[in-house]
């Protein structure tokens, strides 16, 4: 196994910029590679993305492999697995990390099976074992009720990382690194899927993942009408609306509002949880929030154990009065 060396980060690009998860991965990868005394490289896959290589260096990479090809414009499983498989066989990294995103979720397992190694998904902690030098992969299991630490003795050790669990390095434009262009060399006939259309359902206003305040409603809100009241508070606090799964499944709010294990990961300064029980799967998406406030009629609800402040009561009575007072305090 000794021929395998270094840490590789699979970078993602959104709207012409390195996505936040990529800078987080580079921060985490830098630490792992320093602990191993090895190099950190990044790989950027896409079309028209070569300009971002320098950016990956500014965030910590020693080397950046760029695979830029019109066939790679949209993420597709077959094409990405092929180009990364080829690159991994050439570079032979000990560790490969990706984001737990719609891309990483799809690519990491398929690639791991292709390379006859294994992946750990949705890790919240990665470290090098001082004795074995293996990657210790800590991930929540059982919906977040427990955590497990895994190791894998085949290389590369592959892991995906949950958003907002790793700290990026400060951007340093003076950092030096090497950019290497790799030919995709793809035969279009090997791609068995076709992206016909992309449909954006993004809600106007502040992006949920980036909001400093999130007002989240659960099943107890009871309908779309109730969410209008939550929206009023969110607007007042310049925040975004979130939801647990039932309001999304019931069509009270768009699916994109779901926070949790299989929804969005948020970590705002203020998370106001209204009429939701605080299931482990939901908390997986918001437990990084600085301050959680709960409004629930059940004093025994799990959310009351994890919140900083709570009110036991009917949200229909509590929320309007709260919104009114907040408006007054904010002087508006």
């Amino acid at each position: 196994m000794s021929e395998y060396k270094g840490v590789m980060v699979y970078g993602e690009v959104t709207n012409g910029k390195l996505s936040a998860i990529t800078t987080e991965l580079l921060g985490c990868g830098r630490k792992l590679s320093d602990d191993l005394g090895q190099e950190l490289c990044a790989v950027l896959v896409g079309s028209g993305i070569s300009g971002l290589a320098q950016e990956a260096i500014a965030f910590g990479a020693d080397k950046v492999y760029v695979i830029d090809d019109p066939l790679l414009k949209d993420y597709q499983t077959d094409s990405n697995v092929l180009v990364i498989e080829k690159l991994v066989k050439q570079v032979m990294p000990q560790i490969l990390i990706l984001g737990q995103t719609s891309i990483g979720r799809d690519l990491a397992p398929r690639l791991a099976f292709r390379l006859e190694t294994a992946a750990s998904m949705d890790c919240v902690e990665l470290a090098i074992d001082p004795d074995s030098k293996l990657l210790l992969q800590t991930r929540p299991v059982y919906g977040g009720n427990a955590r497990a630490i895994f190791t894998c003795e085949s290389y590369p050790q592959i892991a995906t990382v949950r958003a907002k669990t790793m700290a990026p390095l400060a951007r340093d434009a003076s950092r030096k690194g090497e950019v290497i262009t790799i030919e995709a060399g793809l035969d279009p006939s090997v791609i068995r899927t076709k992206v016909v259309e992309k449909v954006s359902e993004e809600v106007a206003g502040i992006k949920l993942e980036e909001a400093g305040v999130v007002v989240t409603g659960g099943r107890g809100i009871g309908g779309a009408e109730g969410f209008k009241q939550l929206e009023e508070l969110a607007k007042l606090l310049k925040g975004a609306i979130g939801a647990t799964r039932p309001p999304c499944d019931n069509g009270w709010v768009p699916d994109g509002a779901q926070v949790g294990l299989t929804g969005k990961i948020v970590a705002p300064d203020l998370y106001i949880a209204v009429a939701l029980s605080g299931s482990s799967q939901h908390m997986s998406g918001c437990s990084g929030s600085k301050n959680i406030i709960a409004i629930n009629k059940d004093p025994e609800a799990n959310i009351m154990k994890v919140a900083r402040f709570g009110i036991v009561g009917d949200w229909k009575k509590v929320l309007p009065a709260f919104t009114e007072k907040v408006k007054e305090l904010l002087g508006g």
Partner: protein, 273 residues
């Protein structure tokens, strides 16, 4: 495959798991065995997303005819639990039920399931849940596809069969993308798909009478060293419950409205507002 596909053969992978909706306070780990203790009085269930996969299969069958075969892998599977796809309307149930299948990781499980699917032989579509509600791995579907050499689309919310291809709506963070994939293919389902149907009384009666087909490792031509705990590629070093620090301060008031006002004042006082 050319032209229209008439009757579709659909295989759905369904896992029996501990009830993921059990209250967090009831969750316990036995540190001496590194295993989860099943919460008392909460029977296991079919994993959430797998019910959506069954629903997706049944919708295709309803639309154009087909055969839906459910397959579950485990040890000592509870018939009442794993028969749920039958009671929803699936035609056949195959169980890979043996101690040797227990405690596998995604690799060992995907391998055994893929070998069973090979033995079934005829399939146009294989459906899985996006992730199982116990270990939340989210890998088995992609693994089966890779082993069988099939294209895959993950985290789907809708599947339509058009001109012998599947048109899949795949959920992404800011909406969805429509992907066309050639068949046979493997697709994993998410809860954004239409809700699973409730079993009808007729379905429940039919499921009661139907005997599942049970396959042992030898029946699917796998060596016990490749499956279950023996076939793992990942080692679990430790399983633990994270400690929850923090104490909630309950804000009181004479009325809910007064409590609300007190909360706003408190948030101002501690400079959260």
């Amino acid at each position: 495959m050319e032209g229209e596909i008439g009757i579709m053969n659909i295989i759905v992978c369904v896992k029996q798991v501990l009830d993921p909706e059990a209250p967090p306070a009831s969750f316990k780990i036995d540190p001496s065995t590194n295993k989860v203790v099943p919460p008392p009085g909460m029977p296991p269930v079919v994993s959430t997303f797998d019910e959506y996969a069954v629903e997706a299969a049944l919708r295709i069958k309803d639309a154009q005819g087909g055969k839906v075969t459910a397959i579950s892998l485990g040890a000592n599977l509870l018939r009442d639990v794993v028969k749920k796809p039958l009671s929803m309307g699936a035609d056949e149930l195959i169980l890979l039920d043996d101690e040797a299948f227990a405690e596998g990781d995604s690799w060992a499980t995907a391998y055994a399931l893929a070998m069973a699917i090979k033995k079934i032989g005829e399939y146009d579509l294989i459906l899985c849940g996006r992730q199982a509600a116990d270990w939340d791995a989210g890998q088995t579907g992609s693994g089966i596809a890779e082993i069988l050499g099939l294209p895959s689309v993950t985290v789907a919310k809708k599947i339509d069969i058009v001109d012998s291809k599947a048109r899949v709506e795949r959920v992404i963070s800011d909406g969805y993308e429509v992907i066309e994939v050639s068949l046979p293919a493997l697709i994993t389902l998410s809860n954004e798909h239409a809700e699973p149907r409730y079993p009808t009384l007729k379905g429940i009666m039919a499921a009661k009478k139907k005997e599942p087909i049970v396959w042992k490792p030898a029946d699917i031509g796998v060596d016990p060293s490749q499956i279950g705990a023996a076939g793992r590629r990942t080692k679990m070093v430790k399983l633990f419950q994270p400690v929850r620090e923090g104490k909630c301060e309950i804000i009181e008031g004479e009325s809910p409205e007064e409590a609300a006002v007190n909360l706003a004042l408190k948030l101002k006082e501690v400079k959260i507002l």
